[in-house]
Symmetry: C2
């Protein structure tokens, strides 16, 4: 029986406040990082390492090099011997310091992970990643249970997509959202200065959270993005062109935020029609990021159908998840704390599960442990209340939701407000 | 005769130190911004406005809305009435606060500009832009000379491309370089964590300065970018693939920085072979930015010819020139000061020309006025001493050149240095 299930059933004596301490499981901790990077994923790593090192029942804290590949290959580094100072420096560095992997673990692979753990007397597994990683943690934990090997398995949340269920939001999202906000603030100013239509393609295969954060720099009435398209809504090219045409006629310009994961009526990724030349990743996910095809195709459609000459497209790409100097302090702090809490839940409270972030105020959070099975392999999308009626924008409620996550001091634009000068020559229609 | 020429010939009594003050030209100042944005172009605007407003012979300081289009259409705003506080806020905002234009002025257009100036008793024209803008200033100035209309024309340098002749570097470059440095720092960490080949396409049609700045985040021996391709060197696909193959075999990964403006042996832009669907801008320049085609084509070539499966490409695009939160303090200060100095040269010293930045120490600069004709319409590329022998990288001398320009506090990456753990199971070749 899993420790978590036992706890919920009230048959364990360990309590969440740590006051009862009936079990002291001695052994090693293994920490690993999985999937794509975020600017704050190393905060979680360092939080988990430093917290684990405090407990006397922990004999060693290992880091698995290259995620679960490193576990099976026994490529561990001994983080017990890493200096605290260097850990703090690494915490400020984006992307997985332990390196990562895109390997999709089979059941057999998870069994190999478990066997390696047992051989090394590893009693705690803390895995930082998305819902695929949570599933890995769950499978490894199941093998330990079957084998009656005392073992605590913990999933530490991480994803810029913000698509984990049972979480208000996930570490990594706030910093990526801040990057996207900055990007669109600049693109809006560029689009205002030079006119035309500008498209920005944002990461997000299934969830539109990151694309939606493009609104954060909006301040004046006519600021863009004027249109936002997310995977939660069917993408219809005809409606899209009508939207762009309307905005362009009205304002003389149009800034558009588009998720890489927009799909047509049949549920096919719009980009996949044009993207045969790139492969799929090991999870069978289409590789949409890093390719400019979707933006270029939409730009071409606008140019040809709407006869607008200045149409530009940017694909924000991989910069969104590893840009060192754009970090939300809120995101950084929470990423640190989910790592610390994971170690505490596993070692102090002697239970396993997935650490989740719950919003408790405006703005404060609590970290609540959830069963692995509730998180593993599942993903969430934008709630209806965050999407506008036309399906081409977001609501004020979304803005209220996302604003605290990007931290303070986010750049805002200011405009000149000086009065116009009376014309002297006043040629009708100007000189051109 | 131009005031500058007169000064050089020694027949004017105005001296550069401002001690002799034989001429006091009363009238209006017009300030305009041209071409693409930079994160610090409004610093130059605000410097020029605030400095101009100090002089009693200046009756008004106008801003031309949408560059030279706004001049001909008499779309001026009266910046004399703008608050100092709001100007300071605008200074911190990227992209042209006066809006911009890509219109290529004909001689007739420049005559219209001159006529508008005369009608409004404009005696000073301060134009912030690149070498195209300098040419416009020169042409308008010529009309004033022909008409014997007392007039001071000043070009204020601005370009992220860093391609103005007679300058050590140009305002806008340092901040854009800092963005590129951040981008490649993150891409290097991503590439190290997940392996494969990653390509980053950087702005720069003719000059490789911005692409070269991708090296600034390199710290450890194996950090990327490992290969850099710039317009100054002929791009040969065969050599490129051999380079990538060598690095990949050696390191198991490869990060590549490529200028959008790389050309083949015939001098044709590599991207133009694949980019028919996008247009040309009004200057006849091919529109390379914002399209992912070049990166995708290079990625495909690597995938197909070298049989490497994980190949990704990012096109940094328009974010490079308008990202609000990535600003070099050095760049910001210099952008401010070239604006101030332009107003001083024109109004105090009563001369015209182009304000240039000269490096005088390590690190300090002087602002030296150059004749318009020396800057106008000309562009420079990377000096030979900045390019490595193989033509696929930069020299230490370039790093020394660029480092002070991006300002202090640039993000650097840190690595874990903990020792490896001894294997217990030690399967030959690992589990997979």
């Amino acid at each position: 029986m899993s420790a978590f299930k036992a706890l919920r059933m009230g048959i364990r004596k360990t309590s969440m406040d740590g006051s009862v301490f009936d079990m002291r499981l001695e052994g090693k901790v293994v920490i690993a990082q999985g999937g794509g990077p975020t600017p704050v994923i190393n905060q979680s790593l360092v939080g988990a390492v430093l917290e684990s090192r405090k407990f006397t029942q922990i004999t060693r804290v290992y880091g698995a090099v290259k995620g679960i590949e490193g576990i099976v290959d026994e490529n561990f580094i001994d983080l017990t011997q890493e200096t605290t100072h260097n850990l703090e420096m690494v915490a400020k560095t984006p992307s997985a310091a332990l390196l990562s992997t895109r390997v999709k673990p089979s059941k057999e692979f998870c069994l190999e992970i478990y066997k390696t753990f047992k051989a090394h007397n590893v009693r705690y597994f803390l895995y930082i990643g998305g819902n695929d990683s949570a599933e890995t943690v769950r499978l490894v934990n199941n093998y330990a249970e079957e084998d009656k090997y005392e073992f605590r398995a913990m999933h530490i949340p991480k994803t810029i997509d913000n698509d984990l269920v049972e979480n208000d939001h996930t570490p990594g999202y706030g910093s990526a959202a801040r990057f996207v906000s900055n990007a669109f603030l600049g693109l809006n100013l560029e689009n205002r200065a030079l006119e035309g239509v500008h498209i920005g393609v944002v990461m997000g295969r299934e969830a539109g959270f990151l694309t939606a954060s493009s609104v954060l720099g909006k301040k004046y009435d006519d600021d863009g993005p004027h249109l936002i398209y997310i995977p939660e809504r069917e993408f219809d090219m005809k409606k899209f062109l009508a939207d762009v045409d309307r905005v362009y006629r009205e304002r003389g310009r149009c800034l558009i935020a588009v998720s890489e994961g927009i799909k047509d009526r049949s549920g096919q990724f719009l980009s996949s029609k044009f993207i045969e030349r790139t492969g799929k990743d090991a999870f069978g996910n289409l590789q949409l990021s890093g390719s400019g095809v979707l933006g270029d195709v939409l730009a071409s459609a606008i140019r040809e159908k709407l006869k607008i000459s200045r149409v530009r497209a940017d694909t924000l790409g991989y910069l969104q998840r590893s840009f060192a100097e754009i970090v939300s302090k809120v995101d950084r702090n929470e990423a640190r704390e989910v790592g610390e809490r994971a170690a505490q839940f596993a070692i102090w409270n002697n239970i396993d599960g997935s650490v989740s972030i719950q919003r408790t105020g405006n703005y404060s959070v609590n970290y609540v442990l959830k069963p692995l099975a509730d998180i593993a392999g599942k993903s969430r999308t934008m709630p209806e209340k965050f999407i506008n009626e036309s399906g081409n924008g977001v609501t004020d409620e979304f803005v209220g939701y996302v604003r605290p996550l990007v931290g303070d001091g986010v750049a805002m634009a200011e405009r000149l407000r000086a009065p116009m000068v009376k014309k002297i020559i006043n040629k009708a229609g100007g000189a051109r």
